[in-house]
Symmetry: C2
Subunit: 239 residues, 2 copies
DNA sequence: CCCTTTGAGTTGTACTGTACAACTTATATG
DNA sequence: CATATAAGTTGTACAGTACAACTCAAAGGG
């Protein structure tokens, strides 16, 4: 990369733009929703007034790391401090941003339904059902990122406890099952579902919860708020 | 690129350094190995003479995209043009590179055992068994990246056809099983393994292959060279 | 040329987890 | 108190793995 005499310095390379975007999911009214923000209309901004995923440039003075940057953007938009946050992937090429070669680090977050949807911010921020959001023409390559996020979420829901992060605690098993079904888009068997959740031993009981109708249900909390539980897959080992 | 009135331009942000690193796996002598390169000792280079993952700066003039950049680096180091190549994740913070705030996009590649290990390049390039490589003190945060890659590979091997990309075609089912066992570090049941591979229908027969001893075995090729097959997981749907 | 060795490939039983469906139990409401 | 509603359980069928014994084909030695 360098020859003995002519020292080739890092600064000799033209540096791409670096951004972080966050796909923030929640479940509202039995629908998987994603948070979109409206691009500013100021002069010089690309994709003015277009809907986009929340995100923006890494600030090398404020952000200690990419993760910290993602957390900051999430906190700014939702006020949520410690959600489930996972890296989704990165996208970078010469043309995705008209301002130059740019790369974005995408994260995805799962949060319980936000209490109050701030009405004043409704013109610049909106919770949109996923399938509907995916059909809008979003800024940059955000349609690709959103699709990937939805795909990844659906895929992981098949064998992890991710949906538990979409519910406020304590939640009941039927509530949790409904979230699984909403995300997956298909019904699940009740008894198999319950067995799987309880056998995995990632929930702890948190007292009975009474609903509007019918029998009261056991409420549960996550034992570990930090990470998702992976349910047993195949190639079982004898260990 | 910007108009006179604009308050806040993209170029107002100090741009981080952007690199791409590739974790290249293969199987040699019944061991999972990874390719390491030696850092240059020239003046000004960080981590001189340290072993590192192959990678380097994105060249905005040559690389159309991050993936193209990863492919270029892989081609440069191995000559392999169309391997299995998947994004692993990205790492970025203020301190990982002494030259400044930097972020790297890491990829991982699977290639069949390279024919001839170029002896002339042996001082700057080396295939190292994974567990051994993980114990070396690598440059930057490459120990973290390598660990993540190994973990991801092991995890995906449990439910995908990834090991097939580590073998030259045609390969036999016993050979494939051995690769699975090498990567996973535990023996697998022969009959369950065979049933799973054949039921997935991702292989096509390619004539008998005779080994050194014993009965000849059926050779197989991948139907699709592009993507891995995911074996059935749980929450089976009735569709 | 047979017989043994080696590895490929098959068969069969036990066990575990899901699929499907009927059932019991607990709470709110008229 | 009867009924509706939802929580939670039980039981049978089926599919996939675990474990282990078996058959089959090719190479090599006496």
């Amino acid at each position: 990369m360098s020859s003995p005499r002519v020292v080739f310095r890092a600064t000799d390379f033209e540096r791409p733009l670096v951004t972080v975007d966050v796909v923030i999911f929640t479940v509202m009214a039995e629908q998987l929703c994603v948070l979109l923000v409206r691009r500013p209309e100021s002069d010089g901004e690309p994709y003015p007034a277009r809907w986009a995923l929340p995100g923006g440039f890494v600030d090398v003075d404020r952000d200690a790391s990419l993760l910290a940057c993602a957390e900051r953007k999430l906190r700014d938009k939702t006020g949520v401090a410690a959600p489930y946050l996972e890296q989704l992937g990165s996208w970078g090429d010469a043309k995705r941003d008209p301002r130059g070669w740019s790369s974005t680090h995408a994260y995805f977050a799962l949060i319980p339904q936000p209490e109050a949807v701030d009405a004043s911010a409704t013109t610049t921020t909106e919770w949109v059902p996923c399938d509907q959001a995916a059909r809008r023409r979003l800024a940059f390559d955000h349609n690709t990122i959103l699709s990937t996020a939805i795909e990844r979420l659906r895929s992981k829901v098949e064998y992890t406890s991710l949906p538990a992060f979409l519910l406020p605690e304590p939640f009941t098993l039927p509530q949790l099952q409904r979230v699984y079904e909403v995300v997956l888009g298909r019904p699940l068997d009740k008894s198999a579902f319950r067995k799987r959740m309880l056998d995995a031993d990632y929930l702890e009981e948190a007292g009975m919860v009474t609903g509007d109708h019918g029998r009261a249900a056991m409420g549960y909390r996550l034992r570990e708020r930090d990470q998702a539980t992976v349910f047993p897959r195949t190639f079982k080992s004898g260990e």
